[in-house]
Symmetry: C2
Subunit: 410 residues, 2 copies
């Protein structure tokens, strides 16, 4: 008897992915150091995770919502897939209308976080679209497009996937990506930026919006670090730019402004004006979410609502201020020690140039061995991140200060 058919097949695009060795390599190097130096306190400025507990207003709202789930009269079953109105309305009012951006609640889709959304958003676009991601970049934008079949294989010579447009963000261009000559279909932008901690003026963002409108591109704008903006002249949302509602989707998170990394809440804005021919992308995303998602937990949505209360806004702003004090401490300390540093002014990330031409990994090893301080090698975020190093401001002030002192003594 002959074999009449093959086995089921996997999505072979997954085989194009490079191993995600960055954080596992860091972990194993740190573990080895810890084993060899059991009495040395290791200070971690590597991870992008917050450390302050949730704000009292958030805790109070969650206890209240848990109690509602305990009583038949107030129990909540399936939530609307796009989120409860109480949360969508708060977001519309505080994050958009107060900034002059006319975003309605039904243009806001509440989710379990910006990482899910930034990966899932690809579902509604053709696999034939060509993408652009900055270099260096938050790896999720790129990896999810590799999985989705919008790239070729990685070229080992330059560490770049075929078919992807990579506007570089380098010291030379002040970490401001330049408009590509060849227009992409989908452009991922993140400001304030992870990993560089840099941002761009609103006028510069307007240039990207104009470019997208001119070339028929759609912008996926990740504004997860919006709460860290301190300077004037920087857009808090892309919808402050004229015409953005016709070309941009915005991703937002509760992780960094309110410490929800382990609580999980985010949202995506898909304006009704954003269309491809006759098709509304708002309709497509509604269909995607109502078919492949079942809403964020009621308890967590009530927690999110509390972030927008007067108390919640004050308390979460204090948390952001606390982290920004850390950022200032890192920035000033390293500058005074002669390092070349970027970011940290409108973002919780500091992007430092490795001294003496060290590679990112050489500096990682140096810092770990000599100061027992852990950071993240810039090359892990893309080839243009080589010779840079990311430190984060999410630790305690005491540890941050101690780490900076150790680095300065090197």
């Amino acid at each position: 008897m002959y074999k009449v058919r093959d086995m089921f097949q996997i999505n072979e695009n997954y085989l194009k992915l490079q191993g995600s060795y960055l954080f596992s390599t860091i972990a194993s190097k740190v573990a080895a150091y810890a084993a060899a130096n059991p009495h040395r306190e290791i200070l971690r400025l590597g991870i992008g995770d917050v450390t302050l507990p949730l704000a009292p207003a958030v805790i109070k709202a969650m206890h209240g919502a848990v109690d509602e789930m305990a009583r038949q009269e107030t129990f909540r079953g399936y939530a609307p897939e796009h989120g409860y109105d109480f949360l969508r309305e708060a977001i519309s009012r505080v994050d958009y209308r107060s900034r002059g951006a006319d975003i309605d609640p039904d243009e806001i889709f509440v989710s379990d976080g910006a990482k899910s959304d930034s990966g899932n958003i690809g579902d509604i676009f053709s696999t034939q679209n060509r993408i652009a991601v900055c270099d260096p970049v938050y790896p999720v934008y790129l990896d999810t497009n590799v999985m989705g079949g919008r790239t070729g294989f990685m070229n080992p010579a330059d560490g770049r996937y075929e078919g992807v447009i990579y506007p570089p963000c380098t010291e030379e261009n002040g970490f401001v990506p330049q408009l590509p000559e060849e227009a992409p279909d989908i452009i991922y932008l993140c400001f304030p930026n992870n990993p560089t901690g840099m941002t761009i003026p609103k006028a510069e963002l307007q240039r990207w919006v104009d470019y997208a409108l001119e070339h028929g591109s759609v912008i996926i704008y990740d504004a997860a670090y919006e709460a860290y903006i301190r300077e004037d002249g920087i857009a808090h949302t892309i919808y402050e730019c004229e015409g953005a509602k016709k070309c941009a989707i915005e991703l937002r998170s509760f992780s960094k402004n309110a410490g929800f990394t382990g609580t999980r809440l985010g949202f995506t804005v898909v304006p009704r004006e954003l269309r491809c021919g006759d098709v509304s992308l708002n309709d497509l995303w509604e269909r995607r979410q109502s078919t492949k998602f079942n809403g964020a937990p009621y308890i967590v949505q009530r927690a999110g609502e509390a972030v927008y209360s007067e108390e919640g806004r004050r308390q979460t702003a204090e948390q952001v201020d606390y982290y920004m004090r850390n950022a200032a401490c890192i920035l000033e300390g390293l500058k005074s020690a002669g390092y070349t540093v970027y970011g940290g002014v409108n973002a919780p990330y500091i992007w430092l140039k490795t001294p003496g031409g060290m590679t990112s990994w050489e500096f990682f090893d140096h810092l770990l061995e000599e100061a027992a301080v852990v950071g993240t090698p810039g090359s892990g975020f893309g080839p243009a991140g080589e010779h840079f190093f990311r430190l984060t401001a999410f630790g305690s002030y005491e540890n941050t200060k101690a780490a900076v002192e150790r680095i300065c003594r090197l």
Copy 2:
């Protein structure tokens, strides 16, 4: 100047989707009836959502976890994307090892629910794979494959998408789907079944496993209603079947066994033995989840852990018993009134044959107009659901009893 390029393109597979009019049509018919009959109490046995509040053990665990999030020493940031060990170990022990199924914690991926997982699981398979879904069926399996490009267009003549294999589950075959002559690559099975409320003996499930192993198919097994199994000889997990670890992925939910529809928790089992050539599907799903998902909330995972505690198991079993008492009430009442009814013995769904050859929608209108009772037309789940009607056991006992009395008086 000529137009050098087109706009970005959408995923055109979305345009093949049929409007999801089932529940919106039901809602508008019910609203019209309510407006015309303002004093008539409408009894709803249509939705698949639970109504009992969360069990006390679950509430206690959530309050405790919320308090942990309020203190720096116990605050939790990013969770492992595949879930906390405390929950994976409880699942492995209670749901699998206790039933003789050797599933390790690292084969269990905790998620925000079975709906997300049943849609997202398609990510790791080729778009060229051919799928099989039973008819009638939970629409998510089918719609997510339409979106993913694994079907052609719907043929309006028979209500079926081109390229899909549809094993029918009908009165004639006792709602036991037959093995297809042409072997699919991916087979979706759900037992106890939504919408029919029927299940199949373990020996019959073993035939599907053997068939999948012989033909190189993978089975996506949805066991969301496992807690409702009352009879012997029915598999509680597909891994009770020999060889299933080489061909099956299992989806599980906390929605129906513990009332988590609005709390959101589920998990997917991808055994390490499940491979396509050299590639481990466990590795692929780990990569998918770690790239496009950021873990279920800590608070909700602690709630899930409480479901597996001694108290939690007793309390949630009582909830399931309560719903099964409703199911028995519906089943016995309708039988005594001369209806032909299926399901309801090992599932919270009753699948009744419409009397007098009425279509599903004619019976819907009849029931609404004459008894003010709302159910779900079987044709909404697929062509083979025509002339059937789904009632659910998730209401209060009082309302269920009253609804049955009204139907019996028709």
